[in-house]
């Protein structure tokens, strides 16, 4: 894991920044969210992919790409969470000030 982070840090940082941006926007966005049903299916899909990665089922380059994708997706989610949380704090702070 340490080796992959060292080797891929730039791409992971990109995913993190993308997540921060998306999270920042999502906190105030009025667009349509995904339905709960779809969200569950998506979570199941991610869980299956995660299980496949942990079990080393997918061989060779596809296995690496799966690891890479899941890693970037995980960092993206962390970025989203931080971005949304920061934006939420900022909004709450502005509301109290006004």
């Amino acid at each position: 894991m340490g080796y992959l982070v060292t080797f891929l840090w730039g791409w992971l940082l990109g995913a993190l920044l993308l997540g921060l941006g998306m999270g920042w926007i999502a906190a105030v966005h009025h667009g349509r969210p995904v339905s709960k049903k779809v969200a569950r299916w998506l979570a199941l899909l991610v869980a299956l992919l995660l299980a496949a990665a942990v079990a080393h089922i997918v061989p060779g380059r596809f296995g690496y790409w799966l690891d890479l994708g899941l890693g970037m997706f995980g960092v993206y989610l962390v970025g989203c969470a931080i971005g949304s949380w920061l934006r939420d704090i900022l909004i709450a702070h502005q509301s109290r000030a006004s």
Partner: protein, 465 residues
């Protein structure tokens, strides 16, 4: 937390650029990642003793193929690749080097190159053998056809190094080590090479043995040329050692009293068995020729030249092959020298006296058996006697004063008779010879020292006028 859940349902639009980023990352990083993992795995195997190592990486999965020389080495090598940071899986295609039974190794030599083939247990031993071959044969191409195999006998490397050393003594040939049995074939570089190799093989490590030694040596040559014009006997070729050398030169001196012995002999190993005896007998036959050549090649004797008279030619042709030791062969190409012109009695006496002045007829000590060294002299006496057919010759035996007078008298008579018998056997009429003995009654020197006593022990030829 509820907020986070609410927000997360709106994070999906970012997944689209994330997927694009992922595709670009996969495209840009796969090659470098694979190269880096391969380099790290190669580096980690640097100190492992392996054969035919093959490493390839797909993503984070390494396919590792190699032949190991022990199970411990194999598992340790796989573990070290698995431990490389970043490697996800190792596709283990390693195996042990095959075991060989019988364990065969060979070293062959021809004019142009030295070839090492067969099995060798470890890269270090292989390199050691190749280095030894290159050092032993400077300037000669060393061809490596060795394969790795397990199952080498103990101290294989010591035995193989010794065999490479023995290969220097071969002009061409092959040495094969099969388990702990050694087989050799080929042609030795020098005379004595076969013996030198046999001696070298005594240093093989315990447990190793020679099952076949078919190394041949160049022919062991000896020659003697009797040249009556130059008055020389030239000895050349090889003798096994200094003792035999001295023995043959001494025998030649006794047999060829009329010729100067030119000694060009060299000592060398590799003489066939019974060499000294065979050559001494062949020199005896040569001494009976007026001119001739003796050639000995291994166990083959070839004598050519001219005998002094007919019966001598017949005797030489018949006796020489019979006189040879076992496994020796003799070929004779002996013709007979044309008879010399007759001479009168005075010249005949002069010629006989001259011959007996140069040498003496020798007998076995205390007996009347003629010493074989004196046959050459006797043949010259016979040839001279043929030149004066009308002369009657007294053959007179003398002894020194040692011993009983009666015994000496009898001995001198018997010795004179033995000489007369030889002459008759050579084809001369018996009635021309009067054998007689004087015992010690007619000394020609005082009997007070060995040298003078030897002068008194003699046979005289007196032509009756």
């Amino acid at each position: 937390m509820r907020g986070l859940f609410r927000w997360s349902r709106k994070w999906w639009p970012g997944v689209v650029p994330l997927v694009l980023l992922w595709i670009v990352a996969a495209w840009r990083t796969t090659g470098p990642l694979e190269a880096d993992l391969t380099a790290q795995a190669t580096a980690t195997l640097k100190d492992s003793v392996l054969n035919r190592v093959g490493l390839s990486t797909a993503g984070r999965d390494v396919t590792f193929a190699a032949e190991a020389f022990s199970e411990e080495g194999r598992s340790s090598a796989v573990a070290s690749v698995e431990a490389v940071p970043g490697v996800r899986l190792v596709n283990d295609q390693t195996a042990l080097v095959p075991e060989s039974k019988p364990y065969v190794w060979s070293a062959a030599r021809d004019v142009a190159k030295v070839t090492l083939g067969g099995n060798t247990p470890l890269p270090t031993i292989r390199n050691k053998l190749l280095d030894a071959a290159r050092a032993t044969f400077p300037g000669v191409e060393v061809v490596d056809q060795m394969n790795f195999a397990r199952g080498a006998p103990n101290r294989f490397d010591v035995a193989a190094l010794l065999l490479i050393d023995q290969l220097t003594r071969l002009k061409d040939g092959k040495i094969t080590l099969s388990d702990n049995k050694v087989e050799l074939e080929g042609m030795a570089r020098d005379l004595g090479g076969r013996e030198a190799i046999a001696a070298g093989l005594n240093n093989l490590p315990d447990g190793f043995s020679v099952t076949r030694n078919a190394v041949q040596a160049p022919p062991y040559i000896f020659s003697a040329i009797k040249d009556p014009v130059a008055g020389t006997l030239t000895l050349s070729g090889y003798v096994p050692d200094n003792a035999v050398h001295a023995e043959l030169v001494a025998a030649a001196g006794r047999k060829f009293f009329n010729e100067k012995v030119i000694d060009k002999l060299k000592a060398s190993l590799g003489a066939p068995e019974s060499f000294a005896g065979a050559v001494t007998r062949a020199l005896g036959a040569l001494s009976r020729l007026s001119t001739g050549t003796l050639e000995v090649s291994d166990r083959e004797v070839k004598l050519s030249g001219d005998a002094l008279y007919n019966a001598a030619g017949n005797q030489i042709r018949a006796d020489l092959p019979k006189d040879m030791p076992r496994d020796w062969t003799a070929k004779t190409e002996v013709s007979v020298k044309p008879a010399a012109a007759p001479v009168d009695k005075t010249v005949c006496q002069q010629l006989l006296s001259e011959l007996l002045g140069k040498s003496k007829i020798r007998f076995e000590s205390g007996r009347a058996n003629i010493d074989p060294d004196s046959i050459g002299l006797l043949d010259l006496l016979v040839a001279t006697a043929f030149r004066c057919p009308s002369a009657t010759i007294e053959i007179i035996g003398h002894t020194d004063s040692d011993g009983d007078d009666k015994f000496n008298q009898t001995l001198s008579e018997r010795r004179a008779q033995a000489v007369a018998d030889y002459l008759v056997k050579a084809g001369l009429p018996a009635d021309r010879f009067k054998p007689m003995g004087y015992g010690s009654a007619q000394p020609i020197a005082p009997n007070d020292n060995d040298e003078d006593k030897a002068k008194n022990r003699r046979i005289d030829f007196v032509v009756r006028q």
